[in-house]
Symmetry: C2
């Protein structure tokens, strides 16, 4: 780690430490290919399948790195976060594996299935109102009462070092990649990818893919500073959150470009992968393929690692079945 | 091959020949595990993922073995079959790879998506009325006109030898299996499994899993002769067809038992796999897990190879969304 302007910036040594630390608790996920999608895009696509990861998403890498890096005294007080998505699930999984408490603050309006999944991994849920002020107040109360360690979903050097192990594996699994593309929301996965790629494969382009309907990272990169939108609406519900200082550090320095896709392109790409590759991926995970299909000239002939970030979807409400 | 009562019975030498013949055209599919499903069943389950196979199903193994085993003169006249399912798709794929014609007789009522998929692989469709008499008459006309070689979906020694390569791979990929379980319809996959297992791993149990709503193989095994039902209705639409003499040969001699599952158990098992394993499997492929979940005492403690036969489903009509 090096300290820059008050932030701890994780380095590649932190990635190697994370890799060793989390290995017993995560899957080395497979890389799948599809001759149909290669023919369709004119590129060679290598899908890094974090949808097959423990707890169903890459987020378990960062969560495990944070949880298993705690000293005994900190660990005994547990960990805490506010999230209704994959980070909550992953942190509960990681804490469960270490046998320590995990507190999750979640709006009472969150889907029952998500609450059950967190509880299934042993997480303790404290409900709040669906507003930022209520969430912050309730979370502060939980933190004070329990002394639990806050693990932010992405703006945390331990989390970014953990996510960086994904592209480290990908670069080992596939020789000669010239491009990696991942979805961007808060920027945790993209930051981890930038950290690994800039350290061990600096000639490889890193593209970030974002829903047009929640394109705050796209606009941030062009503006040269973080732009945070207020609750954008997109089918890619993992990508609604804004960049923060630590992820901005990596994104602004190392990302080749951020490209966007329309909602219908995201849904079509998701369905195409389900149909042709026979894997269940989240809408967020389909944004990179949507972007590749929408920009054929840019990606043709490239050898591209595509990060499939997760597979946690509500099978009763698939986006192509709405309306 | 040995000839028994007028039938050519494939032997293990035919399986080895098939393996060498089809290798360039098929995937060696991965084997996936799920700690959640292991905990739920008390067994160790190894899912052989033929849903990731070329054309989306194991049927491409038998189809490729038939197509690439033809001599040049036969091959020039092409191949033909009647099927509206995975066999038609697979035969079209195989013929396309060899560059020979493939004729498929299909009822005009078959879903447009299935017709498009066959045409997508270069198959030529001749439509018939949705009745057995029309299908047979139209097929006879096509066969006479083209001189194409008929490749039956399962009652064909070349097809069974091809399907047998699947469990051959599975036994190589997973050490110490004591059980293999596969769905049974016409019995092609189960016959191939019996052929391989009885030849190289005779201590391993072979179970067949069948929908209760189409349990003709179950009743055949108990009666000691083939019972063929007239068009049974089940969500597992790949399993409606009856045993024939060649598959009965293997099933009656080598299957440990046939077990059945209710429709709601099949749908629940399918959804469970999608949700937990993040893979798209057909209803037919879910019958083995449904049977394992319905018979916990029988399977607990076993180390089980589970054949996931295919992943070709209509994503707009998922069975848990009906009604």
């Amino acid at each position: 780690m090096k300290d820059v302007a008050g932030m701890e910036i994780p380095g590649f040594d932190d990635v190697l430490a994370a890799e060793a630390r989390i290995r017993p608790y995560i899957h080395r996920t497979p890389v799948l290919t599809s001759s149909h999608l290669n023919a369709l895009t004119g590129a060679e696509l290598f899908f890094k399948c974090e949808n097959f990861q423990k707890a169903g998403a890459f987020k378990v890498r960062g969560a495990c790195n944070a949880v298993f890096g705690l000293d005994e005294a900190q660990a005994a007080r547990g960990v805490a976060t506010h999230s209704s998505g994959n980070h909550a699930l992953s942190l509960a999984y990681a804490a469960g594996r270490r046998g320590i408490p995990c507190h999750v603050v979640m709006p009472h309006t969150a889907p029952e299935a998500k609450k059950e999944a967190v509880r299934g991994y042993g997480g303790v849920i404290t409900e709040c109102e669906p507003s930022t002020s209520s969430r912050e107040a309730v979370f502060a109360g939980v933190a004070t009462r329990t002394g639990a360690e806050f693990v932010h979903p992405y703006n945390d050097p331990r989390v970014i070092a953990g996510q960086a192990t994904c592209s480290r594996e990908l670069l080992e699994q596939v020789e000669g990649l010239d491009t990696v593309i991942a979805p961007i929301g808060g920027g945790g996965m993209v930051s981890g990818t930038c950290l690994t790629v800039s350290s061990i494969a600096p000639g490889v382009d890193v593209f970030a893919a974002e829903p047009k309907a929640a394109d705050d990272a796209f606009r941030s990169l062009r503006a040269g500073h973080i732009i945070a939108d207020d609750a954008p609406e997109t089918v890619a519900d993992g990508l609604k959150v804004p960049l923060k200082d630590l992820t901005w550090h990596f994104v602004s320095r190392h990302v080749t470009d951020i490209l966007t896709a329309e909602e219908d392109q995201i849904i079509a790409a998701m369905k195409l992968v389900w149909k042709r590759m026979k894997i269940v991926m989240e809408p967020s995970s389909a944004v990179p393929l949507a972007v590749i299909l929408a920009n054929p000239g840019l990606f043709r002939g490239r050898r591209i690692g595509v990060v499939v970030t997760g597979g946690n979807v509500d099978l009763d409400r698939l986006p192509w079945m709405k309306g």
